[in-house]
């Protein structure tokens, strides 16, 4: 026992800071996920020309908290014939995997819980893939046909699309030569170009695969409500159900962060190396001040006193954030001597801002696609994965590999690399169209023979 005690002390001495950060993330993340849900509902309402949640707080700003309270005090129902232990374990597994994979991500150069692990991006991708067990076991444990169907669909979908996503990651990693997350972003900073320019086809593949992996529309077959009630979470209610939702939204943040880190330059400002665009440093505080001003402008329109006060509070919060963002860029302008002292703060604060900005943009793209595209049929989804995305991503890895070798041979750097990667991307596009043409021919031939086949499709 003494040994265990000593080991605990040693462990706490070494790792107290990451542990505290981990606890903070676990505490804050449900709130963030709740507000992503609110933003999603608002965007959906906007795209469908209605208002969305408006009742709880000004513009429905307190809706996530009301929802969370509702879910917490709801009755917790476990089906009679359910496997109780697995039923309890499954949502916890999903959330645990999603939260654990957050630990490897770097939000700006300063904020990273697991500092500089050598396997960086592999850790994030590998651990977040474990969340599938929560879905499969939850579907099985509820002892319901709808749940089991949803779970089966989900595992088939995840296994199919993980290959494509992995290949897309490989094509971007060919330019970095490392798996460490910080080094990946530093490689993009050194080249002065984001990898989305060098490997656009890989980015597209990753985008599609990541939507499929997070089980979101148009690939939300596991929870297709028109056919499967709610898929694997049919039998889950109250707090367990909200755990699944937390896992889904955390996974969205994770895939968006991986895409941002690998393809969109991580925490780097757009055109970080172009000096005449340095005025872009002032964009974040100006943006936050604009939001604050808009909130102040809307205050008189609020119907009740409490809502007016809340709106003012939101404006104040935005203003404080603007001040924090403005300090590291305004101080060197006033006192040039401070430039050196302020530099690490500038990197940390603005890095965090740009990272979160890009992640939000990626998540917005997810939502946009969700409300625009109709849901796929399951066989279509499988065909898209196996017959189109996986061959395309393998061809793309080959082409990008050839391009990066050619780039090293001709000593190309930065924007010069485009000379070799653009032809590679064009070849990949040609390959994509060839695959599509072959598929189409296959289809038409099948249709001619399928007239008498009642079980086809």
């Amino acid at each position: 026992m003494n040994a265990v005690f000593q080991a605990t002390i040693e462990f706490l001495k070494l790792y107290w800071a990451p542990l505290l950060c981990g606890v903070a993330v676990v505490a804050i993340l449900p709130l963030i996920a709740g507000y992503i849900v609110l933003v999603e509902r608002k965007i959906m309402a906007d795209m469908q020309a209605r208002l969305g949640p408006m009742r709880v707080g000004p513009h429905g700003l307190l809706q996530p908290i009301a929802d969370a309270v509702k879910l917490l005090i709801k009755e917790d129902i476990i089906p009679d014939n359910a496997d109780k232990l697995v039923f309890w374990l499954a949502p916890v597994l999903s959330v645990g995997a999603a939260l654990l994979s957050l630990a490897g991500l770097a939000i700006g150069p300063a904020f990273q819980i697991a500092q500089d692990i050598n396997i960086g991006i592999l850790f994030v991708v590998g651990i977040s893939a474990l969340g599938i067990f929560g879905i499969v076991l939850g579907g099985w444990a509820s002892n319901s046909h709808y749940s089991l169907m949803g779970a089966l669909r989900s595992s088939a979908q995840l296994v199919s699309y993980e290959t494509a996503a992995g290949m897309a990651l490989v094509s971007a990693l060919l330019f970095t030569g490392t798996l460490n997350i910080k080094s990946i972003v530093e490689a993009q900073s050194k080249e002065g170009i984001w990898f989305v320019m060098l490997a656009p086809v890989a980015f597209f593949t990753y985008l599609v695969a990541s939507i499929a992996e997070t089980n979101r529309a148009p690939f939300d077959l596991p929870e297709a409500e028109s056919e499967l009630v709610a898929g694997y979470m049919t039998e889950f209610s109250g707090f367990r159900w909200s755990l699944y939702f937390l896992a889904e939204y955390t996974n969205m943040i994770v895939v968006a962060s991986v895409a941002t880190t690998l393809f969109l330059g991580g925490w780097l400002r757009p055109f970080a190396k172009v000096s005449w665009l340095n005025f872009l440093d002032f964009a974040p505080p100006v943006l936050m001040i604009a939001i604050a001003a808009y909130c102040v402008l809307r205050v008189p329109k609020q119907p009740t006193r409490v809502q007016q006060l809340f709106m003012l509070a939101v404006a104040g919060l935005c203003f404080v954030v603007a001040l924090v963002l403005a300090a590291p860029v305004v101080l060197p302008v006033i006192k040039p001597l401070l430039r050196e002292a302020v530099a690490p703060f500038y990197a940390g604060i603005h890095g965090g801002f740009w990272f979160i900005f890009k992640v939000s943009a990626y998540i917005y793209l997810f939502m946009w696609l969700r409300f625009t595209l109709p849901r796929y049929r399951f066989d279509q989804l499988m065909r898209l994965g196996w017959h189109f995305l996986i061959p395309l991503s393998i061809i793309n890895v080959l082409l990008v590999g050839v391009a990066s070798i050619a780039g090293a041979y001709f000593h190309l750097q930065g924007w010069g690399l485009l000379l070799v990667t653009t032809p590679a991307a064009i070849f990949a596009l040609v390959a994509a169209f060839l695959i599509l043409a072959i598929e189409k021919e296959h289809d038409t031939r099948k249709d001619q023979t399928a007239a008498s086949d009642f079980y086809a499709g």
Partner: protein, 172 residues
């Protein structure tokens, strides 16, 4: 001290869940315990500072193979499997094999304890910055020192894959 405690923690979990995996009647419970055992083994890899092995163990065995296992289990009719006798006619063979294995392990314990300097490897806790870059080291040894075995293994896997595709293909 921390290393030792972590090792015994993960090793204990691995052994216990391996035993549970064999003895559970319900196939899904067995699968869960197998996953636990594999994760605990990954933990031992990490505690030995083999980060790359740790994540490969998780991605390949837990995230890949076990997902397929569970997928197949879901498709099997579990109620029938539950009522079948699961440990038929293997009792004595299994006992013999297990005793032989235990004897071998015991002999290894015995001899390694006797030889000076060749006992159990003593782990020295090293800070992360002193370690060689793990995945790079693995890559160098795979693609430089052991390139030919690596290629042979890949060809073997490719042959297996093509064989599986040919066998699974519909004969029309």
């Amino acid at each position: 001290m921390l290393d030792k405690v972590l090792f015994y923690f993960f090793a204990g979990i691995a052994v216990a869940s391996a035993a549970l995996m064999v003895t559970r009647r319900n196939v899904v419970h067995s699968a869960i315990f197998l996953i636990t055992a594999l994760l605990a083994t990954a933990g031992i890899f990490l505690q030995l500072r083999a980060e790359f092995l740790f994540i490969v163990q998780i991605i390949l065995y837990v995230g890949g193979i076990m997902v397929l296992f569970v997928f197949v289990i879901m498709l099997v009719n579990l109620d029938v499997a539950l009522h079948q006798i699961q440990f038929a006619r293997q009792k004595w063979v299994a006992l013999f094999v297990a005793l032989a294995l235990a004897g071998q392990a015991g002999v290894m314990f015995w001899t390694s304890g006797k030889m000076p300097g060749q006992g159990f490897p003593v782990l020295t806790a090293e800070a992360a910055e002193h370690l060689p870059a793990n995945s790079e080291t693995v890559a160098h040894s795979l693609f430089e020192s052991y390139l030919l075995p690596f290629e042979i293994a890949s060809v073997l896997l490719l042959v297996a894959m093509i064989g599986a595709v040919v066998m699974a293909k519909k004969r029309t």
